[in-house]
């Protein structure tokens, strides 16, 4: 009886808390990327493998949450935000975890030891990209406050500002990535050509972490602006 009672069943399950939960898992996943790279740089194979396994585990967990959110979003749900926008934000968040998984997979499979000349720049880039993800996660945590204020006013402005900050941070990671590529270019002949190509790819993927964090923020902007 209670399930069919109008007052008992009018409140659907809001996707916003689940979206936040997903982002927390994604952030955990991204945070292990610098841990992995540092282990590779220090030649700690066991620690690297552990980090890689954690990344794979959290990525799978994020996928589970993603699927749950998708299946629990019937069209009959009337929400303060557009259903499509929620799914878009979710998709972008998930891309962060997928990218982390790609990096971890490639680096461990190819046993890519970090050459000394790019060690510091690589770790700095990864760290900066994780900072972008952290800021993105903080923005997602503001969804409760946004809902409380009806996605308008000061709170919405504050989130807009945070998204602006995220864009700047992403620009910063672009520059770090470009600088790192230049360093790699200068030392290309010291490495096996395939390894060089794969390092360019890893650098790009690390930058993608910040890229997808930025895109998550941009999609959130659309979600607010409905």
């Amino acid at each position: 009886m209670p399930s069919r009672n109008p007052m008992g069943s009018i409140f659907g399950k809001s996707p916003l808390p689940a979206l936040q939960q997903h982002m927390r898992v994604v952030l955990d996943c991204a945070r292990d990327v610098p841990v992995l790279l540092r282990a590779m740089a220090n030649g700690e194979a066991d620690a690297a493998l552990e980090a890689r396994n954690r990344i794979f585990r959290t990525e799978a967990e994020a996928d589970l949450i993603k699927n749950e959110i998708r299946s629990a979003l019937p069209k009959s749900l009337f929400m303060p935000v557009d259903r499509r926008d929620v799914l878009d934000v979710l998709e972008m968040q998930d891309c962060i975890a997928n990218t982390a998984q790609d990096i971890a997979g490639l680096v461990v499979v190819r046993r890519m030891e970090v050459p000394g000349f790019m060690r510091d720049s690589l770790l700095a880039l990864a760290q900066r990209c994780v900072e972008s993800c952290e800021l993105c996660a903080r923005i997602i945590e503001e969804l409760d406050e946004l809902l409380e204020t009806g996605f308008r006013g000061r709170e919405a402005q504050q989130v807009e500002d945070m998204v602006g900050e995220l864009n700047l941070l992403e620009d910063d990671t672009d520059e770090l990535g470009a600088a790192l590529s230049r360093i790699l270019f200068q030392h290309e002949d010291q490495l096996n050509p395939v390894t060089v190509i794969k390092w360019y790819q890893v650098i790009e993927w690390i930058g993608d972490l910040a890229d997808f964090a930025e895109k998550t923020g941009d999609r959130l902007r659309l979600l607010i602006a409905r």
Partner: protein
Amino acid sequence: MEIIAEHGLLFIILAGAFGLFMCWGIGANDVANAMGTSVGSRAITIKQALVIAAIFEFAGAVLAGGDVTDTIRKGIVDQQFTAANPEILVLGMLAALLASAIWVLAATSRGWPVSTTHCIVGAVIGFALVGVGADAVQWGNVSEIAASWVISPGLGGAISFLLMVSIRKLILDTEKPFESAKRWGPAYVFLVGFFISLVTLFKGLEEIHLDLSVRMSFVWALVIGVALSILGWSMIRRVTVDEAADKTFHFASVERVFVPLMIFTACAMAFAHGSNDVANGIGPLAAVLEIVHAGGKVSESAPLPLWILGLGGVGIVAGLATYGHHVIKTIGTNITELTPSRGYCATLGAAVTVVLASRTGLPVSTTHIAVGAVIGVGLARGVGAIDLRVIGGIVMSWIVTLPAGGLLAALIFFGLKSIFT
């Protein structure tokens, strides 16, 4: 005529029993919908809700339940048509009561969201159609009632929407939301006291022989509103900032200010529900009683005895105490999306609308109005997710309940008629 003289007491006992049973059913199922938003937003506990419901349902029934009761007992069937054989009206009202009670019981046990209001109105129309004839139904009044079923949820929603927007402007979207909440809190308590008492007292209360001019109604409403807001102020004053909770949710402390406000709206809602829904059980009983007392004569002007309203109030409270608390608990735990500020808006919007309908003599569905009010808050982008399938269920219950109640009442009417004549 002889039938009434012969079986008068039996009719009264039957009507009393059926009426009490209906009120019990209303208390057991319906009250939960009225109190759900308050319990769900964690503003009051289930125990508090029960105490509030018991007191204010009773008060609402006795103080403001008369107009709707009058509508049910003489607003749907034109009694001129039954003047020649009043026993038809007696049997018909008994049939309507029994039919509604059976239908509501059957429907709720299967989980269908039916409204007792729709059921009793459908049942009274049903018996009138087969027992007296289509001319006896006061179609003008009936269409007014039907229109109110569509309009009232919309009105509840509109009021809630406006309340939500004002809270955003005055409290949430300010430099210091917590201070703003404390400053405006008493004003929002005032709104509860002022509107509910204004609508209730407007032009006086016949049942308790209270005559008031329009101006005096306003004065009394103002006095009650101010008195309540002082009480509310003393409660709000004690609310403190919870810094730990504010870290995870910046408006946690602001919401704490709305908790005392919800106590007032919960009272208002219980009052409103009592004032409207008691009539569903008591209206037909009043009609039977009146005819039997008059020795078979139908007198349009007989005033409604206060004790009948009291009886209805007792029935509702009994239903609440024996079974309703389970339903309140389940509904309360289902509603986790509602913060106290939203609960305040939804409950007050619904309560004002229901009391307005009560004083206009329109039997409305409290549940549907509460649903409308929640949707109003949702339209202000205030609720995480609203499952619109509920609206489909409500429309279905409309389409099914009206003819079902009518048909059942007609059948029972023929059964009773063959027994007593």
